[in-house]
C-alpha cells in the first residue's frame, strides 16, 4: 500500500543517514528562492489591496534573473566568481555494452579539463538516490552513468561527464559533439531494461442501486497487486472468500462473465486506443549550478526543480554515503517551469555529480534542447483496451473494463503511480455499476517517463470519452444526453467505492453544454460551413472529464508572523513553476487578514519552527495509529509542487495559518483595545463575536467597533504577550487531518491541521518565552490527532474538478489538415483565488491538449528522443495560429457560495479538449480515430 504513495516522500532512510553520518542535515539543508529586490516592490498590490499583477510579473517582463538557468556563479552570494561548464555524453543505443569514449573529434585543444566516467562514480560510492529517500526502490534506476562493459538501461543514459573551465572551449566542444558518434561499443547484448515496474487492479461491483452498499470495492477491499511473469501480469487467484486481493479478482471474474454473457439487449463496445509519448517541452530546459566546497564539506546548489525538498534531502542521502565529506547541503532554487517533469527528475543529481567533480569550482550543467529531449521525463505512452457495456433500452452503462498498459522507459520513476492514477480516473464522469480497471507499468529501453501534467488520466479519460461518443452514435442517441443519463452525481461512488468530497457538478456542465448553440446547431452549422467552404469538412465534438487533484499524501507548511510594527511576513514551502502560486497564496492571506503579506519567502525547506518528521512511513493502519502518538510525527512532511496541489492543499495550510493568527492574535488584541475603559469600553455594550471580524481598508472591525490598523493591533499583541506568529502543518490523504491543541491564551482547540507552532509577543510570560525553542516558536504538542485512515489510499480520489469542452473545427480534404475554428469550455473549480490566473491556466491547458490531440508525437525507441536528434523543428508545438486565439471562450461555474474551496485545476483543463477534437474530427469526416495524435496523413488516408 505504501508504494501507492503517489508523490509522498518517505524520509526514513535520510533521517537514519543523517543521524548516523551527517546528523546536522535537517537543519542545514535549505532551499530558498533567490531573493530579488527588484521583484519585491509592492506595486503588484494596489493601495486598496486589489491584485494588479503577479508578484513576479515585473521581474519576468524585464528580463531579470528569475529562472535557475539565468544564474551563474558570480550571481550567487558568497560563491567564487569563476565557474566551469559541463556536458553529458549520452548513449544513443541500448543494445550493446559500453566500451569507451573516443573524444578525438575534439582534437587536442578541446579535450575536457576533467572527464568523469561511471567507474569513478562507483569507486567514489556515488549512485542514484535510493532507499527510504525515494518513493520506491530503484526509483531513479541502478546507475547514474553506464559502466564500461555494461549495457545502457535506456536510450539517452549518460555515459560520461565532460567539464571545462573555460566557456569558449566548452561552447565549441559542445557544438562539435552534437550528433557526433563518440561512444565506442562492445558486445551486442540486446536490451537490458529493468524489470517491469508494477501492476494493479481496481475492481468494483456496486449494489443493486447506486445507494446500496458495494458488493466489492477497493475502499473496503483493496487495489489488487499483480506481479510480472515475463511480460505477463499474474494476478492473485480468484477466491470469493479469500484475501481482499483474491476477492477483487473473483469480482473481476464475475464482471468478465457478465460481459461475455451479455444479451443482444446490451451494446458491448470493445476498442483499443493508443496515447503517444509526449515531451512536456517546458521552455526552461533542465539545469543546475553546483559548487562543492570540499574544505567545509558544503554542497551548494542552484537547481531548476519543482521538488526542492526532495532534491535537498535525496542529494544529501546520495552524497552522505559517498567518499565526499558532507556537512551541509545549501540548495537554492529559482522560478521554474516543468508541468511535472521537474518533479522527481534525476537531472538534479547529475548536476550534483558535476559539482562534486568540479575541483573546487562551481560547475554548470544545463541541457540544450536536443539534450532535454534526450533526457527529460516524458508523458507515458499508453495502450488501452476498453470494453463498455450499455443497456440499449435504458441507455445506462452496466459495466466497463479497461486494461491500461504504459511504457515507463528505463527508470522506474512514477510509472506505477501514473498507471494507478490513470486507472482510477478511467471511469470519467460516469457512474459504473461494475468496473474492472487494471494498469501495467512496463519497463523498456525508452527514455524514462514520469510525472507529467495529466498523470495518466489524460490517457485513460480521453479514451473513455472517445468511446462514449461512439457508443452514443451506435445507440442513435445524443452524445450529451447519453452522458447526462450516466453522469456521476453527488453521493454516488467512484470506481474505488469512494464518495467525492463536496457536490459533483458534472451534470450542470453537461446541461449547459447541451444547450450551447454549437451543440444544438451542429447539423445546420456543418451544412452551412461545408456549402460555403468547398473542400472542407466541418465537425463539432464534445467531451467532458473531471480529474483528481492532490495525491495520497499532501503535506504543507505556512508560517505567518506579525512584527511589532504591524508588518506581516509569510514563509511557505511551495515554489512557483509559473502557475502563480506565490501570488495566490498571498491572496489567500489577504482574504482572511485583509492584506497580503509585506514580506514573503517561498521554496523553504528548512523549518526549525516545525520540527516534524515523517520517518518512518506508515504503511498500515496499526503503524499509523502507533506513530501518530508521537506529536512530532506526520505521515508526510512536505509535498513537491505537483498534482495541481497549490490552491487546495497548500492554500489550506495558508488559510489555517491566517485564521489562527486572526483568532489567536489579532482578535484578542483588538478586543483588548476595544475593551479599554469603564464597562468594557466600546466592546462591552456590543460584544461582537470573532465571526463578525471584517477587514475594511486594512483595518479590523467587527459589529460596529472602531476599525483598528495593523500597527495598533501589532503593538497591543506584542505588548500583551499574545500570539504574534503562527506556523501550521497540514496533512491530507483525500481528507484533512485534524488535531486538538491546548493553545496558550486560548484553550483546547480543534483545528484541521496536524501540527502547530506559536510565537508570543514580548510581553508574554517567562515560561512561554522559554518555550519558544523551535526556531523562535513554541511547538505545541498536539493532545489528540485524527488522521485519515490508511485505507483512504485506495480511494484513489475524492477531490475532483471538472471541465467540458466543445470544439469546432474544419478538415481540409486536400491536405488532411485540421483547423480549429473555435472552442468553448466550462470549468468547475470552486472559488477562484485569482481568476486571471485560472483563465490563463485554462487557455494554456487547452493549447497543450490541442498539441496532444493533433501535433505532438515521439517514437519511443531508436528513432525517438533518446537518439539526441529531436528538437522543436520536428516536434511540433502548438503555435498561436493553432489554438483559435480570438474565438475560444471559457466559463467557470459560479461557486455554490463564497465558502467553496478553490480546487486544483491546472491538469484537468488540458484533457477534455483531446477527445473533443477526436470526436469533432469524426463528426467532420465520419471516421473514428483511436490513436493520438490524429495527423493530417491519417486523416487523408481515412478520407480515401
Amino acid at each position: 500500500v505504501a508504494k501507492l504513495s503517489r508523490r509522498g516522500f518517505v524520509l526514513g532512510g535520510i533521517a537514519a543517514g543523517v543521524t548516523i553520518r551527517v546528523n546536522f542535515l535537517p537543519q542545514a539543508a535549505r532551499a530558498d528562492v533567490i531573493g530579488n529586490p527588484r521583484d519585491a516592490t509592492p506595486s503588484w498590490i494596489a493601495p486598496d489591496g486589489r491584485l494588479r499583477f503577479r508578484m513576479d510579473a515585473v521581474a519576468k517582463v524585464t528580463g531579470d534573473k528569475t529562472f535557475a538557468r539565468d544564474f551563474r556563479a558570480k550571481d550567487m552570494p558568497g560563491w567564487p566568481a569563476q565557474q566551469s561548464h559541463a556536458l553529458l555524453i549520452r548513449a544513443t543505443r541500448a543494445d550493446a555494452a559500453f566500451d569507451s569514449l573516443d573524444l578525438s573529434i575534439l582534437g587536442a585543444d578541446l579535450q575536457p579539463d576533467r572527464l568523469v566516467l561511471g567507474d569513478e562514480l562507483v569507486r567514489d560510492g556515488l549512485a542514484p538516490p535510493d532507499g527510504a529517500v525515494v518513493v520506491a526502490p530503484g526509483f531513479y534506476g541502478d546507475t547514474l552513468f553506464v559502466l564500461k562493459g555494461h549495457t545502457p538501461r535506456l536510450l539517452g543514459q549518460p555515459v560520461g561527464l565532460l567539464i571545462y573551465r573555460d566557456f569558449a572551449r566548452f561552447a565549441t566542444a559542445r557544438r562539435r559533439l552534437r550528433f557526433a558518434d563518440v561512444v565506442r561499443w562492445g558486445t551486442v547484448t540486446g536490451y537490458q531494461p529493468p524489470a517491469h515496474y508494477g501492476a494493479g487492479r481496481s475492481v468494483r461491483i456496486g449494489g443493486a442501486t447506486p445507494a446500496d452498499p458495494d458488493l466489492y470495492a477497493p475502499l473496503s477491499g483493496t487495489i489488487a497487486s499483480g506481479h510480472f511473469d515475463g511480460d505477463r501480469v499474474v494476478w492473485p487467484g480468484a477466491h470469493a472468500d479469500g484475501t481482499a486481493g483474491e476477492r477483487a479478482i473473483a469480482a473481476a471474474a464475475t464482471i468478465a462473465a457478465d460481459i461475455d454473457s451479455a444479451s443482444p439487449d446490451a451494446l458491448v463496445l470493445k476498442r483499443r486506443f493508443y496515447s503517444q509519448s509526449v515531451d512536456a517541452s517546458a521552455m526552461e530546459p533542465d539545469n543546475g549550478l553546483v559548487w562543492y566546497e570540499s574544505g567545509r564539506g558544503i554542497l551548494h546548489a542552484m537547481i531548476a526543480t519543482q521538488s526542492p525538498y526532495e532534491v535537498a534531502t535525496a542529494a544529501t542521502a546520495m552524497v552522505a554515503i559517498s567518499r565526499f565529506d558532507l556537512t551541509e547541503v545549501d540548495l537554492s532554487i529559482g522560478y521554474t517551469v516543468g508541468y511535472g517533469t521537474k518533479d522527481h527528475s534525476i537531472f538534479p543529481y547529475y548536476c550534483m555529480i558535476a559539482g562534486l567533480y568540479g575541483e573546487g569550482r562551481p560547475v554548470r550543467l544545463a541541457n540544450d534542447r536536443f539534450e532535454q529531449f534526450q533526457m527529460g521525463l516524458k508523458r507515458h505512452a499508453f495502450w488501452i483496451d476498453n470494453t463498455l457495456v450499455v443497456d440499449r433500452a435504458t441507455q445506462t452503462f452496466k459495466a466497463m473494463r479497461g486494461v491500461f498498459r504504459c511504457d515507463g522507459g528505463g527508470r522506474r520513476n512514477f510509472s506505477p503511480e501514473v498507471g494507478f492514477v490513470g486507472m482510477v480516473a478511467a471511469q470519467g464522469v460516469y457512474y459504473l455499476p461494475q468496473s474492472d480497471f487494471s494498469y501495467e507499468a512496463r519497463a523498456s529501453h525508452a527514455v524514462d517517463a514520469g510525472s507529467t501534467r495529466g498523470f495518466g488520466t489524460l490517457q485513460t479519460m480521453a479514451a473513455t470519452e472517445m468511446m462514449v461518443d461512439e457508443a452514443a452514435e451506435l445507440l442513435g442517441v445524443d452524445a450529451i444526453a447519453l452522458r447526462l443519463k450516466n453522469v456521476l452525481r453527488s453521493g454516488m461512488r467512484n470506481s474505488q467505492g469512494a464518495v467525492a468530497g463536496g457536490m459533483l457538478r458534472d451534470d450542470e456542465i453537461l446541461a449547459q453544454m447541451q444547450t450551447h448553440p454549437l451543440w444544438t446547431g451542429r447539423t445546420q452549422l456543418k451544412a452551412a460551413y461545408e456549402a460555403k467552404h468547398p473542400g472542407t469538412r466541418y465537425g463539432i465534438g464534445f467531451a467532458q472529464v473531471h480529474k483528481d487533484f492532490g495525491s495520497v499524501a499532501e503535506g504543507a507548511i505556512t508560517t505567518l508572523t506579525l512584527d511589532p510594527a504591524g508588518l506581516l511576513s509569510m514563509r511557505q514551502h511551495g515554489n512557483d513553476m509559473g502557475t502563480g502560486m506565490t501570488t495566490s497564496q498571498a491572496m489567500i492571506v489577504a482574504e482572511v487578514l485583509g492584506r497580503a503579506p509585506d514580506a514573503y519567502r517561498f521554496g523553504i525547506v528548512d523549518w526549525p519552527e516545525m520540527p516534524l518528521s515523517d520517518a518512518p512511513g506508515a504503511g498500515t493502519q496499526d503503524e499509523q495509529d502507533t506513530l501518530s502518538q508521537n506529536p512530532r510525527w506526520t505521515p508526510c512532511f512536505l509535498t513537491s509542487m505537483s498534482s495541481s496541489n497549490s490552491a487546495f492543499f497548500i492554500g489550506h495550510a495558508t488559510r489555517e495559518a491566517a485564521r489562527a493568527l486572526l483568532h489567536f492574535g489579532l482578535w484578542p488584541a483588538a478586543v483588548a483595545i476595544w475593551s479599554a475603559g469603564p464597562g468594557g469600553g466600546q466592546f462591552g455594550p456590543v460584544a461582537p463575536d470573532v465571526t463578525e471580524a471584517r477587514f475594511v481598508d486594512g483595518h479590523l472591525t467587527a459589529g460596529g467597533m472602531e476599525p483598528l490598523s495593523y500597527p495598533r493591533l501589532a503593538k497591543a499583541a506584542h505588548a500583551l504577550g499574545l500570539i504574534t506568529g503562527v506556523s501550521v502543518h497540514s496533512f491530507n490523504r483525500w481528507q484533512f487531518s485534524e488535531a486538538i491543541f491546548d493553545v496558550p491564551t486560548v484553550g483546547p482547540t480543534r483545528l484541521p491541521i496536524d501540527a502547530l507552532s506559536l510565537r508570543y509577543g514580548a510581553g508574554t510570560t517567562p515560561e512561554r518565552k522559554a518555550a519558544m525553542t523551535a526556531g523562535g516558536f513554541h511547538f505545541i504538542d498536539r493532545q489528540q490527532v485524527f488522521y485519515p485512515e490508511v485505507a483512504r489510499m485506495n480511494a484513489g480520489v475524492t477531490y475532483y474538478s471538472g471541465i467540458g469542452t466543445l470544439v469546432e473545427l474544419a478538415v481540409d480534404t486536400a491536405t488532411g489538415k485540421v483547423d480549429i475554428l473555435s472552442h468553448h469550455s466550462v470549468l468547475e473549480c470552486g472559488n477562484q483565488i485569482v481568476p486571471e490566473l485560472v483563465s490563463g491556466q485554462i487557455q494554456g491547458g487547452l493549447a497543450m491538449g490541442i498539441g496532444h490531440a493533433l501535433h505532438e508525437d515521439l517514437p519511443l525507441y531508436e528513432d525517438g528522443p533518446g537518439n539526441g536528434t529531436w528538437n522543436w523543428n520536428r516536434y511540433r508545438l502548438p503555435h498561436g495560429g493553432d489554438v483559435a486565439v480570438w474565438t475560444q471562450t471559457t466559463a467557470v461555474l459560479p461557486p455554490l457560495s463564497n465558502t467553496d474551496p478553490p480546487k486544483g485545476m491546472a491538469e484537468v483543463v488540458m484533457i477534455a479538449v483531446v477527445p473533443a477534437i477526436a470526436n469533432a474530427v469524426t463528426h467532420a469526416i465520419g471516421k473514428r480515430f483511436y490513436a493520438t495524435p490524429i495527423t493530417a496523413d491519417q486523416i487523408l488516408e481515412a478520407l480515401t
Binding site: D56, V61, T172, V337, M577, E836
Partner: protein
Amino acid sequence: VTIPHQPMSLAVNGEAVGPVDVPTDMMMIDFLHDYLGLTGSRFGCGQGICHACTIILDDPAEGAVEMRTCITAAHFFAGKKVRTIEGHATRDAAGNVVKLTPVQQAFIENFAFQCGYCTPGFVTGTQVLLERLRRAPVPRADVEKTIEQALAPHICRCTGYVRYYEAVRSVILNTPGLVRG
C-alpha cells in the same frame, strides 16, 4: 587555445560594449549570457524555432528588426546597435525598474504569461511590431491578423497565447497612430 577569436564592439541598450575578444563562431545568445551576463533573452531551442531568444537590432535603414540570437553569430552584431529585454524598461542608476514600456505594462496587467520564459521574446516581437506600425499603420480591421502574423513563430507553452494576443491588441488600439480607419 586555437579557437579563433576576434575583437568585437557593439552598442547594447545604448551603452558601448567592447572591444571584447569573442570566438568567431560563437552565437549571440552565448555572448549575451556568458560574456555580458544578460540572461533575459532565453535559450529555448537553439534552432531559431521558438523565438524566446530574440533581441532587437536597430538597423539604420530598416529600423527595428527582430533577430534570433541562438542562430545568429555574435560577430554579426559587431558595430551594430541592439536592444535586449533588459533595455526595454526605464531603469534608475541602480538598475531598478522605474517605468515599463506600454507592451510590458500590458503584458503584466493582462496576466499574459505564467512561467515567463518566453516573455522576453514576446516583448521583443511586439515592440518590433509596434515600431513597424508606427511607420506603416494597418487598417483597424486587420489588427488581429497583423498580430497573428507578427507573433506566429513565438512559442508559449504555459498560457496558450490568448492573454498575450489580447494584450497586444489593446496596446495597438490604444496607441495613437498605429491603425488606420
